[in-house]
């Protein structure tokens, strides 16, 4: 983790940041400024949210894809350092 290249930083930190932005970040802003309950008391879905649900989906999806890309690229390009066990 301490010797990351720029591309690896984008995959790990960028992916993690997007995952957290789509879940925690947008969720917190929604609670404070938007519609904390997109579902009515009767269980009907009310889409009056600051961030469209598809925007949150794509943000989280992009984060997961970046992290998975890092993992697969790491596997393809580097042998593991610790082979002693």
């Amino acid at each position: 983790m301490s010797e990351l290249t720029t591309i690896e930083r984008i995959g790990l930190y960028g992916g993690g940041a997007l995952l957290l932005l789509g879940t925690v970040g947008m969720g917190l802003i929604e609670i404070l400024l938007g519609a904390p309950h997109p579902v009515s008391g009767e269980g009907q879905i009310v889409h009056e949210t600051l961030f469209s649900l598809s925007l949150r989906s794509y943000t989280i999806l992009l984060g997961l894809i970046l992290m998975a890309t890092y993992g697969i690229a790491n596997l393809a390009t580097k042998p593991p350092k610790d082979t002693s066990i």
Partner: protein
């Protein structure tokens, strides 16, 4: 029995103490519980064979962010492939986790599978209970099992990792615990 970990995160030095026995204990509990979750899901589909995923990948998935990709598998030979691979994959992932064999590979495919469940179930339900769902938590647990290499604790991977084949092909370490 406490292990000291020194590393760097976001350019800062990070040190933490981890209790070895607690970590080993928890890795096994997590692997068995999550493994049974998937093994049961797979065996259940075989028990009720034939399994037909078309309602999910053809119906529910359409209109979701994964729809353009997933609906390609909704008919013909690709649907037949999916109808076999979902229960077979779930069974193998579950078995892999329970016996701790090829644990990282199993966890990777578990996370891969959960990505589809997370977005398709979540979006078709309008994220009615928020964007953190059981499917996302499942995905994160698979990622954690892969990160920690949980298969070496009372698992087959503890044996596999010592074989000369794995020592000669160190890249295989990415697939085992």
């Amino acid at each position: 029995m406490t292990e000291q970990i020194h590393t760097q995160l976001l350019g800062r030095d990070v040190s933490l103490n981890v209790s070895g026995p607690w970590l080993a204990y928890w890795l096994v509990i997590m692997r068995l519980a999550v493994g049974w979750w998937l093994l049961h899901a797979g065996l259940d589909k075989f028990a009720g064979w034939p399994f037909d995923a078309s309602w999910f990948i053809g119906g529910a998935a359409a209109g979701t962010s994964l729809g353009p990709f997933v609906t390609l598998f909704s008919d013909g030979i690709l649907l037949s492939f999916t109808n076999v691979m979902v229960p077979l994959g779930q069974t193998l992932i579950g078995l892999g986790l329970i016996v701790g064999a090829l644990t990282r590979l199993a966890a990777f495919f578990g996370a891969f599978l959960m990505t589809f469940f997370y977005f398709i179930n979540g979006e078709t339900g309008g994220w009615a209970h928020g964007v953190i769902t059981g499917d996302l938590l499942g995905l994160l647990i698979f990622a954690m099992i892969a990160t920690l290499g949980a298969g070496r604790v009372l698992g087959v991977d503890a044996y596999l990792v010592k074989t000369s084949f794995v020592k000669d092909h160190p890249r295989l370490r990415y697939f085992i615990g």
